[in-house]
Symmetry: C2
Subunit: 123 residues, 2 copies
DNA sequence: TGAATGTATGAATAATTGTTCATATATAGT
DNA sequence: ACTATATATGAACAATTATTCATACATTCA
């Protein structure tokens, strides 16, 4: 697996700060939370989905509106909306043949805003 | 490419709300910002990097500490740190043979916190 | 009921990504 | 200068992901 294996048993190389590491292992965030958190960010880590969320922040829209706006197939949009739905980033309501999507809650745009702050700060 | 092509020229199907779409196209976020934003989130969208950032939030650490803490090869850690560095999420300082990493700024943990709020809200 | 339309989804493909392995670079001590 | 060690990095491989295509489902209207 790792560097430890490369060292000889005698010379005691590879020298992490054992005390600190032990303390941090105590504070370790649960694997479930790590996984969910990374999944949420992964969902936000796609240009198409960013554009969808940005549009939905202005106004509730149906698949066909988004398809027109982003110049993509409604199939592609629908697939992406499913990802956003599964991760509770958007919600929807049906009206006749159309399905209108909107942001699920205010956290979504907060994340958006924090992300913007980060990329804009050193400009 | 998309649904528009499937419709016949006569019946005028595929009916996005043209007015709304036109307005939203005005408000469209620039492609550069969309790209950078999604890149930032993409970087946060990996369990290993989440763990690294969480650990660095507690204390500045070197590659070898992180390698021990996360039970991964220092090569893997180093690769991930490069990704974090390139996206200005961590900074580093050299001390002898070691390289100590820390969070680049407070935005990082704000993003983290917002992400947590999102996943925890409906529990 | 049958045709048209908006949306959803499974499968396939192409592109991207994380880790490993081998190797390189840099620094410290002898 | 030589050895040991911490970190970095290119290439390869496996796994994941976004889009397309074909098709299915659901709703409206005739």
């Amino acid at each position: 697996m790792l560097s430890q294996e490369k060292m000889c048993d005698v010379c005691e190389a590879f020298d992490p700060n054992k005390e600190v590491v032990a303390l941090l292992k105590e504070k370790k965030i649960s694997d479930d939370v790590v996984y969910e958190l990374s999944e949420t960010f992964k969902v936000l880590g796609d240009p198409t989905r960013i554009k969808i969320l940005h549009a939905l922040n202005e106004k509730e829209l149906c698949v066909c509106d988004l398809s027109e706006l982003l110049d993509m197939s409604s199939s592609a949009i629908s697939h992406q909306l499913r990802v956003l739905r599964n991760n509770k980033l958007v919600k929807y309501r049906k009206e006749g043949r159309s399905v209108y999507y909107s942001l699920d809650d205010e956290h979504v745009m907060c994340l958006f805003g924090q992300g913007l702050s980060h990329i804009l700060e050193d400009k």
